[in-house]
Structures are given as C-alpha cells and as structure tokens.
Symmetry: C2
Subunit: 229 residues, 2 copies
Amino acid sequence: MTQFYLQEDKLYVSVDCIILGFRDNDIHVLIINRKYEPLKGERSLMGGFVREKENLNDTVARVVSEYTGIDNVYMEQVGAYGDVKRDIGERVISIVYYALIDLQLFDERLEKRHNAEWVNINDVGKLILDHNLFLHDTLELLRRRTATRPIGFNLLPEKFTLPQLQSLYEAIYQRPLDKRNFRKKVAEMDILEKLDEKDKSSSKRGAYYYRFIKEKYDRLLKEGFYFSL
Amino acid sequence: MTQFYLQEDKLYVSVDCIILGFRDNDIHVLIINRKYEPLKGERSLMGGFVREKENLNDTVARVVSEYTGIDNVYMEQVGAYGDVKRDIGERVISIVYYALIDLQLFDERLEKRHNAEWVNINDVGKLILDHNLFLHDTLELLRRRTATRPIGFNLLPEKFTLPQLQSLYEAIYQRPLDKRNFRKKVAEMDILEKLDEKDKSSSKRGAYYYRFIKEKYDRLLKEGFYFSL
DNA sequence: GCAAAAGTGTTAGGTGTACACCCATGA
DNA sequence: TCATGGGTGTACACCTAACACTTTTGC
C-alpha cells in the first residue's frame, strides 16, 4: 500500500467501554480496579487500544467479550475524547462506547479474575482520568436514545415482566413513572408478546412474562413508525 | 514522560470538518477539489491530521480557519469513524465535526486559493471515501440539535429578519413551516431583540431586523429552560 | 382474612397544527 | 393603484399527565 501520510503524526487510540447492566432496580456499570501502571489500583472503565488492523466495533466487542464473556451485545458510540493531557501516561485519543448487556448472561467468574465489580450508577465514586465524564455523557445519551428507541430490552432477559420493564425505565430516567400511563404506551408500541407464564418471584399473584418481538419492531421501523417511551 | 504503551499500535487520526453556511435559502457545505494524492481531483470535505500535541478542538479550529478565514466558530462533534479500510491510503481514524459559519464573514479569496466551493446540500454529488456518510450523519444531528437548541443563529449575520430565520429553519428541516406558528414559537423563546432598523432588500415594506441575545439565552438555560423550535 | 404487588380507564389541561386576511411600500 | 412580501389570532385535534380501586394469592 502506498504511503501517503508519512509526515503526519500517529497517535494511540483507545476504546473505553461503559458496560451497563440492570440489577436490583438500578442500572449498574462494570468498574475495574487497575492491576497495572499507570494508576494501578484506581478505579476505571474497561478499555483497550485499537489495533492497526481492527475496526472500532471489533475493539469494543473484544473488550466487552473479555470482561463479560458475552458476544453480540448492543453498543453505540458516545464520542471521541482527545484532549492532549486527558491521559496521564501519553497522549491517547479515547473513543467511548456504551454497551447494554443482560446480566443473566454475565460470566460471574470474570468478576474476580479481572478484579472487576458491578457498581450502582448512583454510587460510582471517583474514576481515573476523565472516565466520570464518559459515564455522565453516556447516561445522558442513553436517556435520549431510550426516549426514541426501544433499546431497554437489551438490559433485560429474554422474558421479563411489565413491573420489571417499568422499573428499568425508572432507573434510566431516574424518576418514578405512572404505572397506567407507562403500560398504555407500552401497549401502543405493540412490539411485545404476552406469554402464558408468570413470574411469581416478587409477588403472590405473579406478573405475566412478556417477550420483545424484534422482528415486529424492525418491520414497523422500516415502515417509518416513531417510538417513544 | 514515562512510556507505558510502547507495545500498542499508533494510528493516523484525522479530523474532517463539515463546514456549513446559509445562502440563497439553502444550507451550503464547503467542498474542496483535492489538489494532492491520493484521490487528487476528487471532491472532498476539509480535513487535517491531528498532531501529537494538539487538542481535537484545536485541529478543527485550525482547519476551519485555514479554509474560511474565520475563528471562534460554533462546532460540534459528530462522531468517530474508524473502519480499517475507510481510507484508501492507509488506516486513518476520522473524527468528524460540523461547523456553522456566517457566510458574510467568509473570506472569498480563500475559495479560489483552495480550489473550494460552496455547494447546496441538496446538490452534493459523490464525495470521496465515506464523506457522504459524514454529511448525512451531520445533517441528521443538526436537525436534532436545532430542535432543542437555538444554534441556527450561528448561520446568520448579527442582524437578521424573521423571514430569513424562518427560511433557515425550513432549509434545515427540509420542509415548509407555518409562518404564524413559527413566529409564535420564536416569540415564546424570548431571546430576540427587535431592532428599529428594517431590511428592505427583499420587499418594499421591509422586515424588521432582530438580534439574538446570547446573554439572555445563557441565563435562561442556566435556569433550566427548555427550548424547541 | 389480610398483606402485597399486579392490573385496569377516564378526564382535564396543555401543546401542536391548520388556516386567511390586512398592512406597508416602491414602482 | 397594484403587486409583493411582512405581519397578525383563533379553533380544533391530539397528546400528556394526573388520579383510585379491584384482583389475585400465599401465608
């Protein structure tokens, strides 16, 4: 391949992943205690350097898979952060992504192996560098996306109940939602299938399980429907 | 500075700028005919490589200033594009920004010097690489931003008329707006100052000039007001 | 039988949208 | 005086948000 750009600078480019899961009625983020320098022992998001022959998406997928054991997760780019002195090591451009995972699929053994931990997003302390900013921007983006696309399902298991779903949305928006209005909207979207089975783990009466019909959603989207929740 | 990341790859990182201006009732984008290889002679957005000791914002400002002669422009990041084979030269991560400029401030001489051209966004042909995608994503973002923040004023001169402003919004949204509803919303925002002077260039009666009161907008924003237009 | 969570409709107020005429002026 | 673009108010449809009681069942 011809070398056109020889006189230009080359920089380190890393991908930082905000890996989010839903548990105990709150969004949690996977945080690691760094085992290596620089900033050994401090709390950090998951990251990895982008390799010469690796697409950004593949870097993210690699990092997410490494720390969670899950592939094919929903992810979206938050943005690129490139201040000269944002990394204390050397100049590193960081491209930030968030990933939504179903915690039931999480490989618990990886938690200890990587010295990682699921932290309630309302209880995240100081992270290294500008990682708190990444998290802040991610949550803002997540709220905007959630309002226009049904991405929340990526945080839930295949089968979930409406109380669970509402609790998830309340955790995302950080405010209580009206039960009847919420259910009305969900019903209008018309992309859920009600199952016969009930979840009795959190009440005596039990709540019906539902399933997200992705095919139906894709079809409606193609027809130009607009979602909001 | 300690070298922690020696074993990692370093990559070329460029910034590509979608420079937008408003003219003849339509948004225009500054397009260049490349004078150098690779892809000499083809149409391209403005770009520049990020230097080792240069913040991303500074790279954008440098590129925008170089091609327009204007400093301190409104800019926002669109995203990072990093597919391995997106550039035909070598692997280059591109971080895309759009910039909104007041065409009255544009230094016309730069148009010829750089072999550049203002092209109506409805009439942009094939650009190199993934630059058409950049433009598409930018316009989508611009519409979303315009709907929630009064950024349109960056595309107009200090003094402008309401018909001009409406025409701008119609160009951004690519659809006609109702005159009365538009003016009602503008009035509700309450961030314009009506001047005594009139613009008689486009009608006999003349339209009153207005001025965007940035200080008032900033104040209202701080108080938590929400804008939409 | 009772505690605890699941499930279900209606109304009022506010917001968005459609719509038509008079005004000012230069030629 | 007339052609041209500037400027103004109202009514209806729709959507959002507030609100309370009944059902089920394990203990």
